[in-house]
């Protein structure tokens, strides 16, 4: 805002100082836990246990990260999560475009009904149990499909994509293409898709973050530990406190072993969150754009 051109009055100056103080406090409160986790993961296990870490790493060491990989479930969890995220997002994108594009065409008779069917699922849902029974009846329990299909489409993302298509692909263009003998399918593949790279990027981000972070589907539908995604492994190790210390053998005493078992939790948190926070600075503005497109009403 360019309200700064005129000199602030005394009370205004006080007010703006207050605002700066407030925002600085917010900044510190939000940032501190993240910095602390990172520092703790890079400190020596005994320093973390003794409470010597406050802001920066103390006795820098990578032992925690080494110990994380002694947990066999972690690497498998990483691989599973990568798989679910990649394949799940691909399915999401395909289905989202398949429904969002037709819904964006005014000549598509019945779009009102389909839109209603879509939005209604946001207002009312059958609930956990009926969903569980449906997945069970389909024979998908404890299979990778339970991680990919129940969330194959999300309404909010469809609305974002539809709004984008409405704004960027004019009705005249698709009509003209039709007159020239271009079929709807060919038009979608040759014209719509190349033009919608920005929105596809936004959708990929949104869906991928969802898959990477979700744990509840896995908790509900999976029972084989080989299929567990990373988030569920993290839950076991940190929240349920089941570190397998039998593999941490290169440590002298039992108490050192326990310290390491505690510290590897910090390292695991860093490893789970890192991929997302690393791309975050680059994708933030796309994410914001997606949110704003979605909030355009009709």
């Amino acid at each position: 805002m360019s309200q700064q051109t005129i000199k602030d009055s005394g009370s205004d100056r006080l007010f703006i100082i207050f605002i700066y103080l407030f925002l600085t406090a917010v900044l510190v409160v939000v940032l501190y836990p993240l910095v602390y986790i990172l520092s703790a993961s890079l400190s020596s296990p005994s320093a973390v246990a003794a409470g010597k870490v406050w802001l920066l790493p103390v006795d820098f060491s990578l032992e925690g990260f080494k110990a994380v990989f002694s947990q066999s479930s972690v690497l498998r969890g990483y691989a599973n999560t990568l798989f679910y995220t990649t394949l799940g997002t691909t399915i999401n994108i395909i289905l989202t475009i398949m429904i969002a594009y037709p819904l964006s065409r005014k000549t598509f008779v019945g779009r009102g009904i389909i839109m209603f069917l879509l939005v209604f699922t946001m207002l009312f849902e059958g609930g956990l149990i009926p969903l569980y029974l449906t997945v069970k009846n389909l024979g998908m329990l404890d299979s990778i499909w339970a991680m990919l299909l129940p969330n194959a489409l999300m309404v909010w993302q469809v609305i974002i994509a539809r709004t984008f298509f409405q704004m960027t692909i004019p009705e005249e263009l698709s009509e003209a293409a039709q007159l020239d003998g271009c079929s709807d399918l060919a038009f979608m593949l040759k014209i719509v898709l190349p033009l919608s790279k920005p929105i596809v990027a936004v959708l990929i981000l949104m869906y991928a973050v969802f898959h990477w972070n979700s744990y509840f589907e896995a908790l509900m539908f999976l029972s084989s530990r080989e299929l567990y995604p990373l988030q569920l492994v993290l839950r076991e190790i940190v929240i349920m406190n089941t570190v397998d210390i039998s593999n941490i053998t290169d440590v002298a005493s039992y108490s050192a072993q326990l310290n390491l078992a505690n510290q590897l939790k910090y390292s695991l948190i860093v490893l789970t969150t890192l991929p997302i926070l690393l791309i975050y600075p680059f994708v933030q503005k796309h994410f914001v754009r997606g949110m704003l497109i979605g909030s355009v009403k009709e």
Binding site: L23, F108, L133
Partner: protein, 320 residues
């Protein structure tokens, strides 16, 4: 008059006839679009509408052999059982308390942040605050709860290191029911305040600069500008988001609550959705759990409709 109406009516039915013809022609011409939309519709049918229909088992005594259709009807039995159960009121109370508390704190927080950010000049500081407060939104629920548990852990957590340092007794925060709602609500604010502020900031950037000019000429202070210009301009956005938030009221991040639960804090942390999960999926008591879940969904729908209705009455903005 009468002689005039007849041809008009004829005209009308002729028109509607033509309209259906045009529609049919459109459908025929765009048959590929209908083919394309089939797969997503199939998804909706299987994973959204069949479970809605499956909620019927709340009124049945479901057994796996007979399936949803074949199982015998039970009427309102499961609802009555739930309403008269000794844990009915504690669970409903917890759900309402966490929901209302979360809404009272979590809803205004991003508005305040956005208004504050809007006051300062565009620059590195503003960008940093925006970027850093938005970041926790991308962190998973499991990681956030893991962080809470590590920070509040009785012997090794940083809070207790701090308490120790200051000479206080150590506290097992997660084991004390009275603390549960505060930890839940404020960690949510930590995670979502920056995300929530984004939409309000966009709305604020659309405010006509002439309004500020005029206010300045009239000698308005910054606070007055916020109250008389900023707040009214973002009101429509506020109302819409409030309705959406109320619509999420009964869901209230139960995935997070479930992770934060332990045996010690259960008296404050058991909510409808976590109860459904435990009784239904862990306990395989499908019909009873569905009844509880359905109760939850219906209350949620009623709240949403009510919020939308009230918003329509009080202001011009509403969802539909």
């Amino acid at each position: 008059m009468d002689t005039n109406r007849l041809p008009l009516q004829k005209n009308k039915s002729y028109l509607s006839n033509q309209l259906t013809k045009i529609k049919l022609k459109q459908i025929k011409r765009h048959w590929q679009l209908y083919l394309i939309v089939m797969l997503p519709l199939l998804y909706l049918l299987i994973f959204k509408y069949i479970p809605m229909y499956g909620a019927l088992i709340a009124f049945k005594d479901f057994n796996a052999v007979d399936g949803i259709l074949g199982s015998p009807w039970a009427g309102w039995k499961h609802f009555e059982a739930f309403f008269t159960a000794p844990n009915f009121w504690p669970i409903v109370n917890n759900t309402l308390l966490l929901g209302v508390y979360g809404l009272l704190v979590g809803f205004p927080a991003p508005i305040i942040l956005a208004l504050a950010l809007n006051e300062i000049r565009n620059g590195i500081f503003k960008k940093s605050v925006q970027m850093i407060t938005f970041a926790p939104y991308f962190i998973s629920t499991v990681v956030v709860v893991s962080m809470i548990i590590l920070f509040t852990s009785p012997r090794l957590g940083i809070f207790n290191h701090l308490f120790e340092f200051m000479g206080f007794q150590q506290v097992d925060f997660m084991g004390i029911p009275q603390y549960f709602s505060h930890i839940f609500v404020w960690s949510d604010v930590w995670q979502n305040v920056g995300y929530g502020a984004v939409i309000y900031l966009a709305a604020l950037s659309g405010v006509n600069p002439q309004l500020y000019e005029a206010a300045r000429v009239d000698g308005a202070t910054r606070l007055q500008k916020i109250i008389h210009i900023d707040l009214p301009s973002i009101m429509p956005t506020v109302v819409i988001l409030l309705i959406l938030n109320v619509g999420q009221f009964m869901k209230l991040g139960f995935e997070k609550i479930y992770l934060m639960q332990n045996n010690l804090n259960l008296s404050a942390s058991e909510v409808l959705q976590t109860y459904v999960f435990k009784v239904g999926i862990e306990g395989a008591n499908f019909s009873f759990a569905s009844a509880v879940g359905l109760f939850n969904s219906v209350i949620n729908l009623i709240l949403l409709l009510l919020a939308n209705y009230l918003a329509k009455r009080v202001s011009e903005s509403s969802l539909w």
